[in-house]
């Protein structure tokens, strides 16, 4: 079998892993193709903060050698990946998307990086991201704005902006992001990708830059649910280095992707996520419900309970925690942050401690009550991922814009951030394209530890739709 670079990079992650395992493609060959794409399409969208060609090619060579010696191969053997620049590697520097003067080093390597590489993944670089994971748009004054591969004037989403742009631009087969209020799901929605934020504690955060202790989650962004299942199966599960990581058993995510939705009940919100939703998003969402019905699912309206309480408490926890983490730098050199970052951090100091404790104290009881009511008759909830179509970078540039710009910027995560307060698993998957040729996404939300159910629902949708397979316009220029 002979594949040119372009065809190689169009393969799904699982397909590629199978071909490498079968010896039909070498790790070196695909890593070189990936690095070449990172230097062209990846550069056009400014997805990479650092491309690590030498170490990636050396690693690929070692993996090819292992294979030729008949060594046991991991499920990601030879698969090129890259990750948001907030995962520590012992002795190396990361930027967290911040000013170079604030580069961070650590003596540890993130557990998630170790797990991916144990399974044979090749890391080709570190990806652009919002400064300290603090915007949902892709703006970055230190490393340059990241751009949407479907149209360079538009937001790629954030805060895992490079993860979305790099995967959509076919430079890598998957990427890790982090999600504190939508930072995996928003770039997945804006870039036409599949992104999964697991249950709070499902994936280790050891060696990962923190933003909000109570909300931070690490998860994969890929081109399909099947690929997402492969990466999640590798990174999920207990970690002795992270006491907040759950010891709940991890399901066999890929094995459960059988496409059978007969009798599965899916709820869509009857009383929330309706007002102000763009008409094209509404239409794509309604069409998606029909796809599920046609596959045998029972789709019913569901009242979203306690939404005022959840919305009120959601912002308090993140603001207070990120303000605590950034206090020293806010005292010493606030000018090193972009204005949209320091202003949001600053608001956290104004909150009374009692309000923060109240929000945390209600969290357990609220998630129990929410699940009891919202999931009493359905396996998952389905909402539009965003209330708007993908905005341009200009119309969400908080640092140079008006209060209206700021309002648009802040509303990007309206449909996403409440999930982090409840700690529930959620996915974003593509469900349409708007009239300007930008992707539209929808969000699946499940009970705690129901990642397998969400992946199954996402995969079944992708069996009957092709939104996830649409190539960005940018690629026509770079790969023909």
């Amino acid at each position: 079998m002979t594949l040119d670079d372009h065809s190689l990079l169009e393969l799904g992650l699982c397909e590629l892993a199978d071909l490498v395992a079968a010896g039909e493609v070498s790790a070196s060959e695909v890593t070189q193709a990936s690095l070449d794409a990172a230097g062209t399409a990846g550069r056009a969208v400014n997805a990479f903060i650092a491309i690590e060609a030498e170490t990636a090619l050396q690693r690929a060579k070692e993996l090819d050698s292992q294979r030729s010696k008949g060594a046991a191969l991991g499920v990601l053997h030879g698969v090129p990946l890259a990750h948001k620049d907030m995962f520590y590697r012992a002795g190396h520097t990361i930027t967290a998307g911040a000013a170079p003067s604030r580069s961070l080093t650590s003596a540890v390597t993130a557990t998630v990086l170790e797990r991916l590489e144990f399974e044979g993944a090749v890391t080709i670089g570190r990806l652009n991201m919002a400064e300290f994971a603090l915007n949902p748009t892709g703006h970055n004054k230190h490393h340059g704005n990241c751009r949407n591969p479907f149209n360079l004037d538009y937001c790629p989403g954030g805060s895992s902006s490079g993860s979305g742009a790099a995967v959509a631009a076919r430079t890598v087969f998957g990427a890790l992001g982090s999600d504190t209020g939508g930072s995996i799901r928003v770039p997945a929605a804006m870039c036409g990708l599949t992104g999964l934020k697991g249950t709070q504690g499902r994936v280790s955060r050891h060696g990962v830059m923190p933003l909000s202790f109570s909300y931070d989650c690490v998860g994969p962004i890929t081109r399909s649910a099947k690929d997402c299942a492969r990466l999640m199966s590798v990174i999920a599960g207990a970690d002795d280095h992270d006491p907040t990581c759950s010891r709940e058993a991890v399901s066999s995510y890929e094995r459960e992707l059988d496409g059978d939705l007969r009798g599965v009940r899916i709820g869509y919100p009857a009383n929330a996520f309706i007002d102000g939703v763009h008409v094209e998003v509404q239409q794509a969402f309604m069409d998606a419900l029909e796809v599920y019905r046609a596959r045998g699912a029972i789709v019913v309206p569901v009242e979203i309970p306690y939404f005022n309480a959840i919305s009120t408490y959601t912002g308090i926890v993140q603001r207070a925690e990120m303000a605590t983490i950034h206090a020293q730098w806010m005292r010493e050199s606030p000018e090193d942050y972009a204005a949209h970052v320091s202003s949001r951090i600053y608001a956290g100091y104004t909150l009374p401690a009692v309000a923060y404790i109240e929000a945390l104290s209600q969290r357990g009881a609220l998630v129990k009550a929410f699940c009891k009511e919202a999931f009493s008759g359905v396996s998952a909830l389905l909402t539009p991922a965003l209330r708007m179509t993908v905005p341009t970078l200009a119309e969400t540039d908080m640092d140079s814009g008006t209060p209206e710009t700021e309002a648009k910027f802040l509303s990007v995560t309206d449909h996403a951030r409440w999930v982090n307060y409840l700690g529930l698993p959620a996915m974003s998957i593509p469900c349409g394209m708007d009239s300007r040729g930008l992707p539209i996404g929808m969000q699946l939300v499940g009970r705690p530890f129901a990642e397998a159910t969400l992946l199954k629902l996402a995969d079944a949708f992708q069996l009957d739709s092709s939104w996830h397979a649409i190539r960005p316009n940018l690629l026509a220029k770079h790969s023909g």
Binding site: G201, E248, S342, A347, G364, P448, F449
Partner: protein, 72 residues
């Protein structure tokens, strides 16, 4: 924003400077600080509406208690 909100925001800025040694880094930060008025109203509206409350450490247990029941 009413006059009581203005007073609260003004006091909050003083409080932040006193407790944390941090001043508003820019005009946008001043605008964001005014969001506490809406937040305060949100908390006021919730008073008495939730008849449960426990301690923060109950959250992990609540996740386990609410997980999906898989049928064998």
């Amino acid at each position: 924003m009413n006059s009581r909100d203005d007073e609260c925001v003004s006091q909050a800025l003083t409080y932040v400077s006193y407790w944390f040694g941090i001043d508003p880094p820019n005009d946008v930060a001043l605008r964001h600080a005014t969001h506490i008025a809406a937040l305060s109203r949100g908390l006021v509206n919730l008073r008495g509406s939730l008849d449960f409350g426990s301690e923060p450490s109950s959250f992990e247990a609540a996740l386990k208690a609410s997980k999906e029941q898989v049928t064998p």
